[in-house]
Symmetry: C2
Subunit: 196 residues, 2 copies
DNA sequence: GCGCTACTTGACACGCTGTAAACCTCCGGG
DNA sequence: CCCGGAGGTTTACAGCGTGTCAAGTAGCGC
């Protein structure tokens, strides 16, 4: 329930909604002044709630984590009955997920090298993401479908790296692939790479 | 005029060298003050030579283009006698190339959304890069080795997107793969994806 | 009414960018 | 020998964004 509808949302929520919108529009170069103006609070209110710019962005990232409810989607992926289907579901999840978080992800990626805390936040998410792919690969192995030439570790490295937001962004935003095409083509690439 | 001729380090060259070093150390958050100090010139000298911050970074990018001498390497890749070898050589080139340009590439990627000119510079390079992969795929097709399910366009999209600096960075810097492993694993992935 | 919380207003120090003006210094030419 | 320009330096300043501070105010429970 990220209300963007007027009245009785808390100030904190209004600021976060404004920050989300500003990130979407201006990317990493948002200013606290603009965020505050959009939320119709004073710039100082932002400092009172979040300490500093970094604190605001971290809170934004954390709220998106909560809102995304990744758990059920992951269970659905894991419930796939064969390797190809597991990979297809994974790519569907990536396509949907990436579309939702891309603006924030881009901001985090850009900020990671001059803001230690944001860098850590991004790294944490990548580590989690890597872990998920490791579990997926383990499942493939348990089903006896992982190709012999891969260790589980290396396969998860590749699975993780090739499905990052970067390639998704390039394919869908610049090369003009639809989400469906992304899912289809990447499913093909990954399944040919990882499966027997 | 700029780089190639004799050995006397012009002020302009000293500034560019300093900028390159600063980018390597501080990424996108370099300041003109630091660049100038490192080059042992006044901050204003930087403005006299390059106009503004963006101008300096564009000049840096252009100089790296010139220094990299991509042509011969590309010819070597194109001279491969079969599809697998062509892909292997491509991945070797990427591994070497990425290691050299990564700091600057990262800076450009990060800057692209709040600096139109830098964004354009990055986009130009990606477009060129995409074109190269298109030619590689055409070569694969001419050799009769491109798998049937790919159109040349789509195959080049995927080839291009999966070999971007982002995945390379993740695999070699975060997952700890050596350059050799990167080449080996990615050659496997791409060849299984694209070849018959 | 009291006091607390939440927020506002206005001011300020700091760092970085970008511009401006005055000066300095070497070097070549009339 | 003096002139002038090219290339650089120094100092100053405006603009903007961050982060901090202090004082003030509106609403609310008690």
């Amino acid at each position: 329930m990220s209300s963007s509808a007027g009245g009785d949302a808390t100030t904190r929520e209004r600021i976060l909604d404004a920050a989300r919108a500003e990130v979407a529009e201006r990317g990493a170069s948002l200013t606290l002044g603009h965020v505050a103006a959009r939320a119709r609070v004073s710039r100082q209110a932002v400092y009172l709630h979040f300490g500093d710019r970094t604190g605001l962005l971290l809170a934004l990232v954390r709220r998106m984590d909560e809102q995304l409810q990744l758990g059920p989607s992951l269970e659905h992926v894991m419930a796939a009955q064969n390797g190809l289907e597991l990979i297809r579901r994974t790519m569907e999840l990536h396509a949907r997920f990436n579309a939702g978080i891309d603006a924030v992800a881009q901001m985090l990626e850009g900020a990671q090298y001059h803001d230690e805390a944001l860098g850590q936040a991004w790294r944490d998410r990548l580590t989690f993401r890597h872990g998920v792919h490791r579990r997926l690969v383990d499942r493939l192995a348990a089903m006896g479908e992982l190709a012999d030439h891969w260790s589980a570790e290396r396969a998860s490295d590749v699975f993780h790296a090739l499905t990052l937001p970067g390639p998704w962004r390039e394919l869908t935003r610049e090369c003009g692939l639809s989400q469906e095409r992304y899912v289809k083509d990447m499913t093909l690439v990954i399944s040919r790479a990882l499966l027997r």
